[in-house]
Amino acid sequence: MDKSIHSQVGEGFLDEIKDDLFQTLSWKSPRFKLWLAALFIIILLGIFAYYRQVRFGLVVTAMRDYTSWGIYISNFVFFVAVSLIGSLVSSILKLSNAKWSTPLTRISEIIAVASIICAAIIIIVDMGRPDRFFNVILHGRIQSPIIWDVIVIFTYLIISLLLLYLPLIPDIALCRDHLTSAPGWRKKVYRILAVGWKSKPGQYNIILKSIRILGIMIIPVAFAIHTITSWLFATTWRPGWDSTNLGPYFVSGAFMVGSGVIIVAMFFIRKSMGLEKYITEKHFDHMGKLLVLLSLVYLYFNINEYLGPAFKMVGVEGEHITELFTGKYALMYWMVQIFGLILPILVLLPKKGRKPFPMLIVSFFVILGAWFKRFLIVIPSLQHPYLPIQDVDESYRRYFPTWEEWAICAASVAGVLLIITLIMKLFPVIPMWEIAEEKGMRKEDIK
């Protein structure tokens, strides 16, 4: 069969793509091993801290009767927020035909899956009696927001896994067919997961249809997952939590921090894996504009969240707002708002700011700011109950996490990074067949 010139050129590109991506899957580089070692050390430290927690109880944390939720919960909210990036890039952007986002779809789904898995792990860590975990399934009460959260997190995880896996199948087939130097177990994995992929049109139909359906479905589920997580707070009477604005506030913040995470990922992946050709400066430019837009939306919800209570200064709400604006938490609050919210808008508006390195720095601030913002959402509200805190030990009035809490949170972050690393080292991080198709190849010829 005569191949068009277009197709021949495309084939050339495919070879180039294969070379570029397959070399990222080698496990031999010393930098990779060092990275794994560092992650393992952090995770081991976290496991030891958790052992201490299981042995002695939650008393090893700094949580006490008033501040009964701590950084485990704020970390959980943070991870759920980050996981929304999957829906943003591989669904919203894809559905709106933003072709530039194609190389980023897989990274975003990997981050989403890793984040959600570690969110589930950290919430189990926070339980006082993890040995009774199955009570949640056996005796679950459908009236409880926690049960809704469990259901929606599990659903989102499955959909994200499917959205990671389905577009991956053609690339797995490429690995199966061309990665001859891979060890035996990896070859087996590729063969099984490729489910007999032969680049046939019927097969493409199936996965393209499925991807489209899931892409549409994941948007409401993504909104639901973070809104339901916000209902863990909005269904109570704590100052700062008792807000009707909490759902949109959380979701908009989630999209923003997700963008920050993906920018950091973009920077390091292109650097360490030599993929500058696929993650170009144009991509940084686009993501920068997206981040500015999301920051502006988040800024809008921030203003809404704080103006109402600050205007009225009702009772404990007034005390809480005062503490955030000018009191104990003022330094953290303003640092978070300025460096984590205003700074990205200011730096990324001019075109010069949307270069890879400045964006990396800004994204670090966004991520750090987002983590501390969730700390500010969870902890100060618990320190202002309606009834005065009296006759208790000094330690009940303050909350500064213990080393066990920090270790476990660090381990959870390391866990996210580990999952991301392992997936990226097993499967090509850029969707090869989609790039090849964009370069002009016919789908059936991608083998």
Partner: protein, 311 residues
């Protein structure tokens, strides 16, 4: 309850009196008690008055009693309330002098350490110009309890007799109930509980909230174990000032160990209110305002109870 004083004199007189009282009871009872079931034969001479599960009052011979009342209910049975009752508490803030004996009695009854009290006596001041007062606060056993709504496993539940209990065998320690309670009523066993008294072989019942287990939540439970014995929760008679009243809303009577008054009359006459009524939790603990106090407000506890120093 002691109802007749014993004379130190003749036993014969006492026997006569008792016998006469019973006889009169039987006479009068037979004459006017329409719906009551008659006592069975095989009398032991002692009658006990009981409430049946339909809420009917019957008099049975003491021999008829099997295992009823006395033992706190098992975990399954604890989910059913004591039938025909709706327990309620009234706190007279004009009488509370911060004696903290309620807290001492409660800590002893539930074997608690001072850092996890079920009862907190708080110094409250409604506004800068009014006088401070002491407010004993425990779990309000709300009729619309936010803690029950949010529990993911149903470890905390509302019973038909109004009491909200915690089943510490099912609790997973997520502490959502603690976040949801606007009154900060709940305490958590962060570490391994270190009870002041070692009670070996104590069987757990949600009605006693004892023994405590690590990683679970606890709170005031209105002492159903005492109630089943016909006794008031220990905090009520412990108050030397008679500030705490306890009783049954359906019975329409509350008592503080000294006097018994009609519940509705008490609230009406003394303008009883509920704390943070506007939240819609419908508490079952009512407060009587701290007006017409006969004593000035004192900041120090009037009886030392070994608490942390207040700031």
């Amino acid at each position: 309850m002691k109802s007749s004083r014993k004379s130190k004199k003749s036993d014969r007189r006492e026997f006569l009196r008792n016998g006469l009282a019973l006889g009169t009871t039987a006479l009068v009872g037979a004459g006017s008690a329409g719906g009551c079931s008659t006592p069975e034969t095989e009398s032991s001479g002692e009658k006990v008055k009981l409430l049946t599960t339909e809420g009917k009052l019957v008099e049975v011979d003491k021999n008829q009693l099997h295992h009823l009342s006395g033992d706190p209910a098992t975990r399954q049975d604890a989910r059913q309330g004591i039938p025909g009752k709706k327990f309620v508490m009234v706190v007279d803030l004009s009488k509370c002098k911060n004696a903290r004996q309620c807290k001492v009695a409660c800590d002893e009854h539930h074997n608690l350490t001072p850092d996890r009290p079920f009862i907190k006596v708080l110094k409250m001041q409604d506004n800068p110009k009014s006088a401070p007062y002491w407010m004993p606060k425990k779990c309000f056993q709300c009729d619309n309890p936010p803690c029950v709504k949010v529990c993911p496993v149903g470890a905390t539940y509302k019973r038909s007799d109004g009491i909200v209990l915690v089943d510490n065998v099912r609790c997973i320690g997520c502490r959502f109930c603690m976040a949801a309670c606007p009154y900060s009523s709940r305490v958590f066993n962060w570490g391994k509980p270190d009870p002041p008294v070692e009670k070996h072989g104590e069987v757990y019942s949600p009605e006693t909230s004892s023994p405590s287990t690590i990683g679970t939540v606890e709170k005031c439970d209105f002492c159903p174990d005492s109630i089943r014995n016909g006794e008031l929760p220990p905090c009520i008679p412990a108050c030397p000032n008679g500030a705490l009243y306890f009783g049954d809303e359906i019975d329409d009577a509350v008592t503080n160990g000294f006097e018994t008054v009609r519940f509705t009359a008490l609230l009406r006459e003394k303008a009883g209110y509920r704390y943070l009524e506007e939240l819609g939790t419908l508490p079952r603990v009512y407060y009587l305002p701290p007006s017409n106090r006969m004593f000035p407000f004192e900041d120090e506890p009037s009886i030392e109870s070994g608490l942390y120093k207040e700031e």
